[in-house]
């Protein structure tokens, strides 16, 4: 039940993009096509899970015992960015197909606040490792839901002649706003 609450909460109620404002850059940037947004979502899922695990370990086995939690920010970012790069090489060697599908997005999301944010939130919520992983996966799923829906809408808008002033970012933000408005309906689910 607790995991259920984490999942529903992360995907619908506190959607990472629509309610927590994390990962807005890729949300706005890599959402012009459904196919690329799917790739992006996959990459986020991957990195978010991995980053949460590693930062969890760093926090609980290095920072906490040494009483230097104030170095959280700096160590997290270092760890995440080198981790992603390592994954990139490994992926390229091990599975070129996967690399083709996800690899191009990896550098994009290294320094992305969604990844960092979820890592920080895991600590803030006092989760254990398993909960943290579920939390990360659910947030990634929430990100996927938001970005794929949004990409569908943007592809659709591409075909409509929007007023010139609205094209691009403004319309995208208004759509995101209304989407956020609609997602408020999930309030109270958990």
């Amino acid at each position: 039940m607790e995991y259920f609450a984490i999942v529903i909460g992360a995907i619908f109620v506190n959607n990472i993009v629509l309610a927590q404002f994390l990962g807005i850059c890729p949300y706005m940037g890599v959402s012009s096509k459904v196919s690329t947004s799917v790739g992006m979502a996959g990459a986020v899922l991957f990195v978010m899970t991995l980053a949460t695990i590693v930062t969890f370990l760093i926090y609980n086995y290095v920072l906490e015992p040494f009483n230097i939690t104030y170095l959280q920010t700096i160590s997290y970012i270092l760890v995440i960015s080198s981790l992603v790069q390592m994954v990139e090489i490994i992926l390229k060697k091990v599975s070129p197909e996967l690399y083709q599908a996800l690899g191009i997005f990896l550098p994009l999301i290294t320094t992305n606040c969604a990844i960092m944010g979820v890592a920080l939130l895991t600590v803030q919520n006092d989760f254990n490792l398993m909960q943290g992983v579920v939390f990360a996966i659910s947030h990634a799923a929430g990100f996927a839901l938001a970005i794929i829906l949004f990409a569908g809408i943007r592809e659709h808008m591409e075909l409509m002649d929007l007023p010139k002033a609205m094209r691009g970012a403004p319309a995208a933000l208004v759509v995101a706003g209304i989407l956020a408005l609609a997602f408020m309906g999930f309030a109270g689910l958990v």
Partner: protein, 197 residues
């Protein structure tokens, strides 16, 4: 380059938020009030200024391949400094900005300026650029914060605009209002940019 131009471009023409669409997360996340927006803007400006200066100072000492990690570390240090100082001396603001303070480190604006500007130009220009961009960022956040505060609470910087009225249109304090407010502010800035160009 003309330093005034270098400074002022960040305000409207190359406004980091409304024109370049950088650092949208904090811009949306913390701007529930004008004061929070301003606070976040200034904090970011400090980090930007500090890291731009340091990066431009040591740019020639860093091997190319570890350029980005080194920059990240430098930025993260400044962020942590801000974090600690704010917690010590402005605990209320620190509480309000919450998660978004550590997230300055991943703000694409900061990294972007370090990469694109400070790692190529001299220290003075970099500082001016950082200041301009940072103030542009602060301006953007304060504007969005004001808009949301005015509409969402009928007040600005905490001063009630309509005496007696308690709540405004709550949407603007909540997530949707951030997106919507920014959407329309972007239109405004595009218009201003055209006007000033």
């Amino acid at each position: 380059m003309n330093q005034w131009k270098n400074f002022s471009k960040g305000l409207i023409k190359d406004n980091p938020v409304y024109i370049l669409l950088l650092g949208l997360c904090p811009a949306l996340g913390v701007t529930t009030s004008a004061f929070n927006g301003l606070g976040m803007g200034l904090a970011t400006t400090f980090v930007l200024l500090g890291s731009n200066i340091v990066v431009s100072l040591i740019k020639n000492l860093i091997p190319d391949k570890v350029r980005i990690p080194s920059f990240i570390v430098i930025i993260a240090s400044f962020v942590t400094i801000v974090q600690l100082t704010m917690e010590a001396y402005m605990p209320d603001l620190f509480d309000a900005l919450g998660l978004f303070i550590p997230l300055i480190v991943v703000n694409c604006l900061v990294m972007g300026r370090a990469e694109a500007f400070a790692s190529k130009k001299d220290t003075f220009s970099s500082a001016i650029d950082a200041l301009g961009m940072g103030l542009g960022f602060a301006l953007a956040l304060t504007m969005l914060g004001s808009l949301r505060e005015i509409l969402g609470a009928y007040s600005i910087f905490g001063f009630k605009l309509i005496p007696g009225a308690t709540d405004g249109m709550l949407v603007f304090v909540l997530a949707p209002g951030a997106f919507i407010g920014m959407g329309y502010l972007i239109i405004l800035f595009n218009y201003l940019k055209k006007k000033t160009a």
